[in-house]
Symmetry: C2
Subunit: 436 residues, 2 copies
Amino acid sequence: MRVLARDIVKAAGEQNGAEVEVKGWVHRIRDMGGVSFVILRDRSGIVQLVLAEKPDLSLESVIVARGIPALNDKAPGGAEIQVNSLECISRADGELPYQVNADIGKIGIEAILDNRSLSLRNPKIQAIFKVQATIIEAFSAYLRSQDFTEIRTSKLVGSGTEGGTNLFEVEYFDRKVYLAQSPQLYKQIMVASGLERVFEIASAYRAEKHDTPRHLNEYVSLDVEMGFIESEKDLIELEKNLLAHIFTETARKNARELAMWGASVPDAEAVFKAPTLGYEDALKTANAELAAGGKKQASARIFDITPEAERLLCEWAGREHGIELVFVNEFPRRYRPFYTYPLDATRTMSFDALFRGLEITSGSRRQHDYQSFLETLPKFGLKPEYMAGYLTVFKYGCPPHGGFAIGCERLTQKILGLANVKEASLFPRDRKRVEP
Amino acid sequence: MRVLARDIVKAAGEQNGAEVEVKGWVHRIRDMGGVSFVILRDRSGIVQLVLAEKPDLSLESVIVARGIPALNDKAPGGAEIQVNSLECISRADGELPYQVNADIGKIGIEAILDNRSLSLRNPKIQAIFKVQATIIEAFSAYLRSQDFTEIRTSKLVGSGTEGGTNLFEVEYFDRKVYLAQSPQLYKQIMVASGLERVFEIASAYRAEKHDTPRHLNEYVSLDVEMGFIESEKDLIELEKNLLAHIFTETARKNARELAMWGASVPDAEAVFKAPTLGYEDALKTANAELAAGGKKQASARIFDITPEAERLLCEWAGREHGIELVFVNEFPRRYRPFYTYPLDATRTMSFDALFRGLEITSGSRRQHDYQSFLETLPKFGLKPEYMAGYLTVFKYGCPPHGGFAIGCERLTQKILGLANVKEASLFPRDRKRVEP
């Protein structure tokens, strides 16, 4: 009967002398002369195997070993297995092109991504995706508890929702379509369909040419849309609850993974204390931080919520409110898409969430009034006659509503303190990379 | 305080005479002279509003009403609201291009899909997607309980996994890539990475030109991959557990939606009694059914697991084993992709699951031995040098493993008894349809 690495201490503690079977990968081999140690890695962690003689094994081979578990303070995890028999069921080529058990701090991101099928075997790299799985599970679970319905919408669209730029073109039989930049229209249709509250977790695509540590051309968007709201403040409240649940679940399920990265998540209580600043106040606060910071800062003055401003605002919130999370709302009309609901002549019912120096969310209440759309569209250079499909939703009864999207990789990145968002994507796509 | 339609009976039963507020869409209006009834629809169901005079309302408008709830056996759901005040918050154009409250049995699928943003408001159509949300939730929950990790992989790939046909081409900056037909390679990388057990729920793409009631060009694939298996029989066992859990959860959460369609799900116990037939036995059984069925059948003889054979095998299983679910395994080599693990010289460790007359799953143990790949590939006309990226996974230690995929829309279709799989896709894509 197979026992997982994480259960060896328990098996050894039971001390009934019964043999156990372990299966996994050869993570490390140490030959000490009279005795050899093999560190076996399985989905739950690592365990030390003790062998009387040096085994004929290559690193990363898959083995099955049987032996007697024994407690040993010096062994990783506090127990080891005195091996009686060992079988290699998949022999790895001895010349590894990438050293799986190396300290990844010493390996550059290009090498990690170029050797993705091997680098993903490293426990610290794998930890990223165990945390990401928890984020997705906690996001879904919280929304279901609030009566949200999960939806799956098409990623092949006739036109873009944010205008015609940054779209990837797809040859679709005898016509061209595009990869969806967001499920915006579909979320709105589903709110108006009467489901009222929907979420979707799916790929989104941006054909942006720049290559930065904060951008991916294909990313996982955690999308939410909700009917019968008053303003973006209802959405900020919902996102606080969501983040609090995600952080709590990550702390509960991924203590080991967080420890590998020397990372921690904010307390749920701290999340509810995160400040909300209007756009103008946010600029003032960022500029005050800039002035106080002296020479360390890059800019002389900040005129927009730039990456530098995001960093400064989170520093400020960390110091003043005990959490590096800030909501900025009431963005000026000119910075927001046509479907954003107005607050007044110049401002909108919109918001961003900034976490540990990075924008992780953009959201807003949406325009839902058909007549207002007809008046607004020309100001954005859009023609109602080309948007009949979209406008149908609003012509036939649509409640006030809004929503937001959390970038899954960005949230993962910031929870673990990763330098580059690409580290938080299993198979990242950028301008040069479409393999593996 | 808003009360949902499903809670009005409870509110009325409490009989404290307090006013409640309801919000939703005008589903139906009946003017009876001295009194008018408005059926309000919200995310939880419908409720009858009673008004002293005929309201100035159009169907599908969004309203907020306040009034006193009262039990009434004649009202849908057993209660109604005596309205004190009513406000229209989004007026629907009076000329609906599609009748939302009509019996959908009388509307053709083309009209339903052409008017998707309105047809999705129909409670019976919406029920399809409430069931689908349960399928996705139950699939994930069961696999997590078995230590599977959810993954999200790229849908933009350099080449196809099933060969170069039926791929949609994407303009990716200055090169061409393809929409993934399945996450096959990525699931295998993640098993070999040491996660061992993974699942993914995501879009998959097939550029098939034919337009049938069983095909979609974009569908949601419920993908599973698992390490350290002996044969496809372990996978059949896993799928039985999965289906049993999905059916149990659907019965528990979606009794109302199943009733709308006159549908029911098999008992969990029945699922475990579903038969497995080897490919040759399956053909014999299908032909015996064909012979027994007389003139009703289309073919004189069946030589392959055709759609007709799928139907006959499910009829047979329903009669002989009490459930219209059959697993067919040991498919001949020639019918399966190159990565399928051989059982012997002619047969493979592969299987299909057929449910209520339709293939819903294809799966297999996979080849994991590097040397065997090098020998096998040329027989399939494939060149190892072009597949170096894929082969890396097996060159450096890979356990025996396998997996399968359940077509989410097909399972939804068969649970509810829908005539066409497109009915089970929110925004289906076919050769002609990419809107909305």
